[in-house]
Symmetry: C2
Subunit: 220 residues, 2 copies
């Protein structure tokens, strides 16, 4: 039982690996067999040297003078990220955003499958969205236990997000993706990642405003 890659991989690298994986999948679907770091880096929007450093965390996986074998590298990254087989996820809060996510094709094709949709509003329970039926909150724990879902997505209003987080964690969910505009606290051993859409817009607004002062960094 060897551990060829026991060391930790930086989180920034993990995020980029996911991008490389997408590009590699597209290349493989296009019939491409090998690719060099320069081309891959351009497609992913990163520096070639940084890309090679990222891949070096997986061990040597390229051929000098040639490049990387597309399918081999794709499979290797899939295995490292843990998306080689589909993972069951539950989604709580079937509003507009929740409906969009549950129906988002980008998830199913990338190793994530929603096995339970939940909402507290009786009017929404029973609706069919993306091949699944919305369930009442009462069934949350039961479904998590039955499906061994390890990932939960929260798209509820901010007021109830913390209580949903608590229930998910208690039910055994170990990873939570939070779209509600609050900072959640979870017990140790549970990872929480936050996606805040309005923050992204506000950063853009700031950059746009700042450009009015120092228009563009134009080199001589």
């Amino acid at each position: 039982m060897i551990q060829p890659r026991p060391r930790t991989i930086p989180e920034a690298t993990v995020a980029r690996l996911a991008v490389y994986l997408r590009v590699l999948t597209a290349l493989a679907d296009g019939g491409r067999s090998t690719v060099a770091s320069g081309e891959l880096a351009a497609a992913a929007g990163v520096n070639p040297a940084g890309l090679r450093k990222d891949l070096s965390h997986l061990g040597p996986c390229g051929v000098r003078g040639v490049g990387y074998e597309v399918r081999t590298l794709r499979d290797r990254i899939s295995r490292v990220l843990g998306v080689e087989r589909s993972r069951p996820c539950v989604l709580v809060g079937i509003g507009n955003l929740g409906s969009a996510l549950s129906d988002y094709a980008g998830f199913g094709s990338r190793g994530f499958e929603f096995v339970g949709l939940f909402d507290a509003a009786p009017a929404r329970v029973g609706q069919r969205i993306g091949g699944h039926t919305v369930r009442p909150m009462d069934e949350l724990e039961e479904v998590v236990a039955a499906t061994q879902a390890s990932i939960g997505v929260i798209t509820t209003p901010a007021e109830v997000a913390q209580s949903v987080c608590d229930r998910l964690a208690a039910a055994g969910v170990r990873s939570i993706l939070n779209f509600a505009p609050v900072t959640l606290s979870a017990p140790p051993g549970v990872d929480v990642r936050k996606v805040d859409l309005s923050v992204e817009l506000q950063v853009l607004a700031f950059l746009g405003q700042q450009r009015l002062v120092s228009p563009v960094e134009e080199p001589a």
Copy 2:
């Protein structure tokens, strides 16, 4: 003509300022008059010292021994971020995600207003969503010019995202928020930010898998 804050503010700080702004707004609505860095940092989920350093970029705005005046600080951050008044935005691609975003209350209440929704599919044109009517792509340039929209949001399929980006940039949009799973290239002077939902899930999957090896960092 002095320049009290001419220097650039780190982008990571700007993102956190947006979070502080949300917390401060909630505190102000709750009638709170002052708040200390410790409490504010806890609500935002960051280190108190880092929060004070972030705020120091705005100049002295607290009172030693007391804390920060909630409303004053809120207004100051709003001004720095450039969201003191509403900004016009256009949204291209009215699929599930686009519909959700156009209807998302979190945008309107935080200084962003969609002034144009666009889609290429004739079936979607004419639909009313969130108080606006979906327009055909032909009218994109016209609406951007008429409304002086400076921010564009792309929620189209990946295949057409680059062409939409080109048209937005040509029409005068200076900031673009991209939800399509591709890396866009834009002319200089145009900022592009990318939000990749499946990357977030894949990072979570990796962290969850990694926990199986080194279960939890339990200090003695």
